[in-house]
């Protein structure tokens, strides 16, 4: 049986290979009442996706071991039940081509890590509000 979304505000799937960054994002999100499931690499992310019901959102690092962000986004968008899950790409890179491609291929937002975790959190809340109103692209 698949694990249910935990907590009143649901589960966010965080795919991030840099542990300190993952810890910081988790700290922020958990303080606001969200539960976080963390995958350290692409393989683990795919494994977790098999094990849980669709989360409220996915925070996706563009560069993680084994499967990159583009491959993981495709896996998310083609997985039954996950097609409409809001996906925010969170990357250290600001390559215009990568940003455009991720948005074109189904990401809902793209955040640069150097903007800080506060911006990540704020934009995530906006994305979730839009999703709850059926406005996510």
């Amino acid at each position: 049986m698949k694990k249910q979304n935990g907590g009143e505000k649901g589960v966010v799937l965080l795919i991030e290979d840099e542990q300190d960054t993952a810890d910081l994002v988790r700290l922020h999100l958990e303080k606001s009442g969200m539960a976080v499931v963390h995958a350290r690499d692409g393989r683990q992310a795919v494994s977790i996706m098999e094990d849980i019901v669709p989360p409220r959102a996915v925070l996706l690092d563009l560069v993680v071991p084994y499967l990159n962000g583009f491959e993981l986004l495709k896996a998310i968008r083609t997985k039954p039940g996950w097609e409409q899950v809001p996906v925010m790409v969170v990357s250290g890179d600001s390559d215009k081509g990568d940003i455009e491609r991720m948005l074109r291929e189904g990401a809902n937002d793209y955040i640069i890590k150097s903007w800080g975790v506060g911006v990540i959190h704020h934009r995530l809340k906006q994305m979730l509000e839009q999703a709850s109103m059926g406005q996510v692209a």
């Binding site: 840099e18 542990q19 300190d20 922020h28 560069v63 990357s91 250290g92 890590k113 150097s114």
Partner: protein, 117 residues
């Protein structure tokens, strides 16, 4: 010591104050320890001319620095990452020295409303 050298030496030892969100406080000591370990890792990789390891470590550091509000770490890591892609060992060496010095001198002040440096 000649006055110019003395002034440079003094500047190199000056503290760098960084304001960080108080909610990050439990995580910052490990964050700093890990960055120092990564400097050592990259120095060893540079010695072995292993630019791919340097690039990977610098990439992770670039993202982590910005997330925590240490913009200078992100700047240096981005320069190292680019130099590793191009195989320019001299730049990596110089930037690793800058990074090591920064990590030794940085002093964190935890604010309820932070503005990173």
């Amino acid at each position: 010591m000649d006055p110019t050298r003395l002034a440079l030496n003094h500047a190199a030892q000056e503290k760098v104050i960084v304001h960080v969100d108080a909610s990050f406080a439990p995580l910052v000591p490990r964050f700093m320890t890990n960055r120092k370990k990564e400097v050592t890792t990259m120095q060893a990789a540079l010695t072995a001319q292993d630019f791919e390891t340097v690039r990977k470590v610098a990439h992770g550091m670039k993202g982590a620095g910005g997330s925590y509000g240490f913009d200078r770490i992100t700047e240096i890591a981005a320069t190292i990452e680019q130099a590793a892609k191009e195989g320019v060992g001299e730049t990596i060496d110089t930037e690793l020295n800058s990074l090591g010095s920064y990590l030794e001198r940085v002093e964190v002040i935890f604010d309820t409303e932070a503005s990173g440096t």
